[in-house]
Subunit: 312 residues, 2 copies
């Protein structure tokens, strides 16, 4: 199971009724945040998932509306009495940007680890990275914005089904089944049993992808392929704003919907709305004409994604 | 006339219903801001005074809750199409802190000037500085916090009354009176008239002082003397919290009220409340027992302060 909450839906600047675009995910109680603009900590407070379990903060890029809330967020994590390290992930240059911002948050009661993802120009994928022992993997895609920018996908992989018949035939005591099911090896009376002996093929997991700020690039569809939720920027809703979006290296609703359709995702969540667009829902038809399962979001739009039911 | 708006009233971190402590003042349409924590730009948006006329941003100190909103604020000022320079004022080290924060706001469509005020240890006053041609002067006081911290006072000075009798006796043409009244020198038919020839003694102006974060120091009372509004931190309301406040180098309500009483101010606005104190009004009696004209504030508590009526 993965829980996702779009903490904010705005672009450029925080507004009284719209926080900046940021995604919080929760797997097995552990939190991973993508983007942290000014006041993201306030919407997280409203969400109520707490600060202490934030293990990772990922950044798409270093424009202020995606990272200006970092010092305050780290201080609030510190106030939650966290002692374990926090890992920051972002494009190359993250160490330097963090060093700059840290002038106003020099003392933290935990270590900060930094992982810089090489930005290879648009279309290059990063290396899959395990970010949660439950089997949550993170991937990145080099996007096409005014400065280096990364898309993220999160994949919660699911092991094969436990084969009771095979476990019985191998005479594995029932009390050990649970460990094997979780992927652990067990030794019983000197005999070693490995998970592959009793687990079927890997089953469909849960995938969420997050793409902002960028022009569309051909590799997006493959990157977001089969996502349960594809979260994508739509700075403007109306098609007439395409030239303005293109000039600023952003996307419009219909472009996001085209990617969603090509990527065969289950649903599209639009976000990163221009402050000049008070009600994005007025333009949803531009997305739905291309991809019917498109939705505009409000701050803290939340969904619990469960594994698909699969018969044993 | 001076307008003052306490943009936020919180300390430590921005909360869903309480922005961080920050003061906006307006004189003759020009804005001067003191402190700019995370999301101060959001409460300014709610206040509706705009971004374009912000000429000065002053900082008490460099803890994140007083400066973390600077990059976003500058970007929003930039979006307002301001081209004129913005002046930042704060303790020594401001240039370095600004250089750090600027990594996420490298391009601004205006110049940024920086004035660093020497911090002389607690009790030292800065030099009076003219910050608005209408006659607004800024003073600073070195406070006693965990890091160098400045108190601010703003004094809108008022020229003497125009003496009609003297102007008539000197045969100054009426059309020139207005210039002399504004403090300008005029020359009529080769004769020079200076303001002192027709203006009485300087009259009582308007004074607002702003003190946070600090322990009380003896010099505060003189610094805030006769303020129309004395804005002072009260991290905690109940007297029982004095040891905790002292340990963190902050003040409680009754300490702020004692300074207000000694300083003979017209009214005390308490601010910078601990996140652990949801309703500061519950503790107002601790201040009023010492200084009856004490008030807790809410975000965007605003007042228009006019010059006192004085007969010609």
């Amino acid at each position: 199971m993965m829980e996702v909450a779009l903490l904010g839906t705005g672009g450029m600047m925080p507004l009284p009724n719209r926080f900046l675009t940021s995604l919080m995910t929760r797997v097995d109680g552990r939190l991973l945040l993508i983007d942290c603009g000014e006041a993201t900590q306030v919407t997280l407070k409203l969400l109520g998932w707490g600060f202490k379990n934030i293990d990772h903060i990922c950044f798409t890029h270093f424009h202020a509306d995606h990272i200006s809330g970092l010092p305050g967020m780290l201080l609030s994590i510190g106030n939650s009495e966290r002692k374990e390290p926090v890992t920051l992930i972002g494009p190359q240059g993250l160490s330097q940007v963090f060093a700059g911002l840290r002038v106003i948050a020099p003392y933290l009661p935990f270590e900060v680890n930094i992982i810089e993802i090489p930005y290879g120009g648009s279309g290059e994928e990063g290396e899959e990275m395990l970010v949660n022992e439950e089997g949550l993997y993170l991937n990145t895609l080099s996007l096409n914005h005014r400065i280096p920018c990364l898309g993220y996908s999160l994949n919660l992989k699911r092991k094969g089904a436990f084969d009771v018949e095979r476990a019985r035939k191998l005479n594995i005591p029932i009390k050990n089944w649970n460990y094997l099911q979780k992927g652990q090896t067990v030794v019983v009376d000197g005999v070693t049993y490995t998970p592959d002996m009793v687990l079927g093929n890997e089953r469909k997991g849960i995938k969420v992808s997050y793409i902002t700020d960028t022009r569309p690039i051909p590799e997006m569809a493959e990157f977001a392929k089969d996502s349960d939720i594809f979260i994508c920027e739509g700075l403007y809703g109306h098609d007439d704003f395409l030239p303005k979006a293109a000039e600023r290296r952003h996307m419009i609703f219909s472009e996001a919907a085209s990617v969603a359709a090509q990527a065969n995702v289950k649903k599209l969540w639009l976000t990163h709305y221009s402050p000049a667009m008070p009600d994005p829902q007025n333009y949803i038809q531009y997305a739905r004409a291309i991809f019917p399962n498109s939705f505009t979001c409000r701050d803290r739009t939340t969904e619990v994604i469960s594994f698909e039911h699969s018969p044993q």
